[in-house]
C-alpha cells in the first residue's frame, strides 16, 4: 500500500481509539505517553509519534498536518518531518490502525 499523499486525510481506522487518560493504576505518565486501542491490542505513543497521530483527525490533509508539526518542531527541516510522518503512518496503516 502506498504512502499518504498530500491530499490524504489520515484518521484512526474503524475500531481504533484513544484509551481514556484517567487511570489510577497506570504505570506510565499520561502527560508523556498515550495509548491507542485497537482490536485485541494497544500501542503506546509518545513524542513525535503521538504528535503526528493526534493530528490525524480525518479533517486535516498531510500538508496541513506537516505545517502544524512544523510549528511544534521549528528546528526540524520540513522534508524530514514529512518523511517521518509518512513512514510512521504507513506502518500504522499496515496494522490497520490508521486509514487515509
Amino acid at each position: 500500500m502506498a504512502r499518504p499523499q498530500d491530499a490524504s486525510l489520515p484518521r484512526l481506522a474503524v475500531g481504533c481509539k484513544w484509551a481514556p487518560l484517567e487511570n489510577p493504576e497506570a504505570e506510565f505518565d499520561p502527560t508523556i505517553e498515550a495509548t491507542v486501542l485497537f482490536p485485541e491490542g494497544a500501542i503506546r505513543v509518545q513524542g513525535t509519534g503521538r504528535a503526528i497521530l493526534e493530528l490525524c483527525d480525518g479533517q486535516r490533509n498531510m500538508l496541513e498536518i506537516v505545517a502544524e508539526l512544523q510549528k511544534q518542531y521549528i528546528l526540524v527541516k520540513a522534508g524530514l518531518i514529512r518523511e517521518e510522518a509518512d513512514q510512521f503512518l504507513e506502518k500504522l496503516q499496515e496494522k490497520r490502525i490508521v486509514d487515509y
Binding site: M1, A2, A13, V14, G15, C16, K17, A19, P20, N23, P24, E25, A26, E27, T35, L37, F38, P39, E40, G41, A42, Q93, E94, K95, R96
Partner: protein, 378 residues
C-alpha cells in the same frame, strides 16, 4: 505489581455450534449457574479501575445471553475496549445495530472452512451460510471486523482457497490460528493434528497472503506449538497480563487452568478483582520465577516464555510445575515427538456424514472425533 491488561469474560458455555477444536473445558458451567448481569457489570467496573484496557466477551456463544447489549454498554461506560468473539449465530441486523450503538468496538467472527459442507461438518451444525450473510451486514456498521479461522489437518490442504474466500468478506483483520490442544481439541487431537508438511506449507501460504493484502487486511497467525522448538509465552505469563472469568464467576489465569489439581479459583461473587489479582493463591502460584524447575530456572528464555504453558505441562506430563514439553530443552520433550508420530499413521481425512438428528450425526462421527456438547442443567 501492574494490573492486568485484558479481561476475558466467558459469559456462557452455551453454544449453538459444536466445533471439534473448541478449547472450552469438558466440564462446563450450566446456564442456571451463570453470573447475573449486575455481577458482570461490577466486575467490568473493577477491571477498568485495575487498569484493564480490553474486554473480550466470549464463551460459548455470548449472543445466547439476552443481556449482551447491557453488558457492552456497561463496559463502554467504564472506558473498556469491547471485543465480541462470536460464531455469529444469534446475530441479526437490529441486534448488531444495538450492540454497536451500545459501544461495541470490534467483532471477531469465526469461520471453519471455505466450503460449506466441510465447514458445517467441523462445526457440527449448519452455520456457514449464516456467517457469510452476516459478514455483509457487519461491513455496513462502524465496527472493526476480524474473521478468525482455526486451522488443523482437516482444512489445511485448502488453506489458500479459504484465505481467498475470507478476503472476499472484506474484513479489516484476519486471524489464522492453529488449534491449541485444550478441552475438546485435546480430546480430538489425533484427527486435528496437522502433518509437518501442512504446517510448512501453511507458513508459505500465509506469508504470500500477507503480501497480497498488505494495507487492506491485516493477517495475524498463531503457530502450532507442538511443532515449535520453544514454548509459547502462554497468556503472556501466568497472572501477568490477563484474567479470565468463567461463566460461574471463577477467576482463572487462563482458559484451561481448571485442569490443574490442587488450585482453587476464587469467585468474583466473593472477592474483588483487585484482591483476586493481587492476593489470591491461584494467581500467585506460577507468578515470577520461584516455582521454575531446571532447565527453565537458569535459561535465558525464562523472561520471554515464562516456562511455557502450565496447563500443557499438566495435561501432557501430569505435572503443572514442569517445563512445557514443547521446549526442546525439556527432559520430557519426547512426549511431543510421540504425539506427532501418531498423527502420521492415522487416516488424514474425516469424511462428512449425514444424519437426521444431532444424536445420530454425533454417533456417525464418533470414529473421527467428539463434537463439543452443551452444558446440562442439572
Amino acid at each position: 505489581m501492574p494490573g492486568p491488561l485484558a479481561l476475558i469474560a466467558e459469559v456462557t458455555h452455551r453454544c449453538p455450534l459444536h466445533c471439534v477444536y473448541c478449547s472450552n473445558p469438558l466440564q462446563m458451567t450450566a446456564a442456571k449457574a451463570e453470573l447475573a448481569t449486575p455481577d458482570w457489570v461490577r466486575v467490568f467496573q473493577q477491571a477498568a479501575k485495575l487498569g484493564v484496557l480490553h474486554l473480550h466477551l466470549t464463551g460459548g456463544e455470548p449472543l445466547v445471553r439476552p443481556d449482551l447489549t447491557e453488558l457492552v454498554a456497561a463496559a463502554n461506560r467504564f472506558g473498556l475496549y469491547t471485543n465480541l468473539i462470536t460464531s455469529g449465530l444469534g446475530m441479526t441486523e437490529p441486534r448488531l445495530k444495538e450492540l454497536v450503538g451500545a459501544g461495541l468496538d470490534h467483532i471477531q467472527l469465526s469461520f471453519q472452512d471455505s466450503q460449506e459442507e466441510s465447514a458445517d461438518w467441523i462445526a457440527g451444525t449448519k452455520a456457514h451460510a449464516r456467517k457469510v450473510e452476516l459478514s455483509r451486514i457487519i461491513q455496513q456498521q462502524r465496527v472493526a471486523f476480524t474473521v478468525n479461522l482455526v486451522v488443523h489437518r482437516q482444512n489445511l490442504d485448502h488453506l489458500d482457497e479459504t484465505i481467498r474466500f475470507l478476503e472476499t468478506l472484506r474484513p479489516d483483520r484476519m486471524e489464522i490460528a492453529h488449534v491449541q490442544y485444550y478441552g475438546w481439541a485435546l480430546r480430538n487431537r489425533a484427527t486435528l493434528m496437522p502433518t509437518r508438511e501442512q504446517v510448512d506449507q501453511a507458513l508459505l501460504i500465509v506469508a504470500e497472503a500477507q503480501k497480497r493484502t498488505a494495507g487492506k487486511i491485516r493477517i495475524d497467525s498463531v503457530v502450532p506449538d507442538y511443532y515449535a522448538r520453544y514454548p509459547k509465552a502462554c497468556m503472556g505469563g501466568w497472572g501477568r497480563q490477563l484474567v479470565l472469568i468463567d461463566p460461574a464467576g471463577r477467576a482463572l489465569p487462563c482458559h484451561a487452568a481448571g485442569v490443574i489439581p490442587g488450585l482453587s479459583f476464587d469467585n468474583v461473587k466473593d472477592h474483588s478483582l483487585e484482591w483476586i489479582w493481587k492476593q489470591s493463591p491461584a494467581f500467585q502460584k506460577f507468578r515470577g520465577e520461584d516455582w521454575m524447575p531446571e532447565p527453565c530456572r537458569s535459561c535465558d528464555r525464562r523472561t520471554e516464555d515464562f516456562g511455557g504453558c502450565r496447563c500443557q505441562a499438566m495435561l501432557l506430563l501430569g505435572n503443572a510445575a514442569a517445563t512445557d514439553p514443547v521446549c526442546q530443552l525439556s527432559p520430557d520433550h519426547h512426549v511431543m515427538e510421540e504425539a506427532l508420530r501418531t498423527t502420521q499413521v492415522l487416516p488424514v481425512f474425516a469424511q462428512p456424514v449425514v444424519a437426521d438428528s444431532f444424536r445420530e450425526f454425533e454417533h456417525a462421527a464418533k470414529d473421527w472425533w467428539n463434537y463439543r456438547l452443551n452444558p446440562i442443567d442439572k
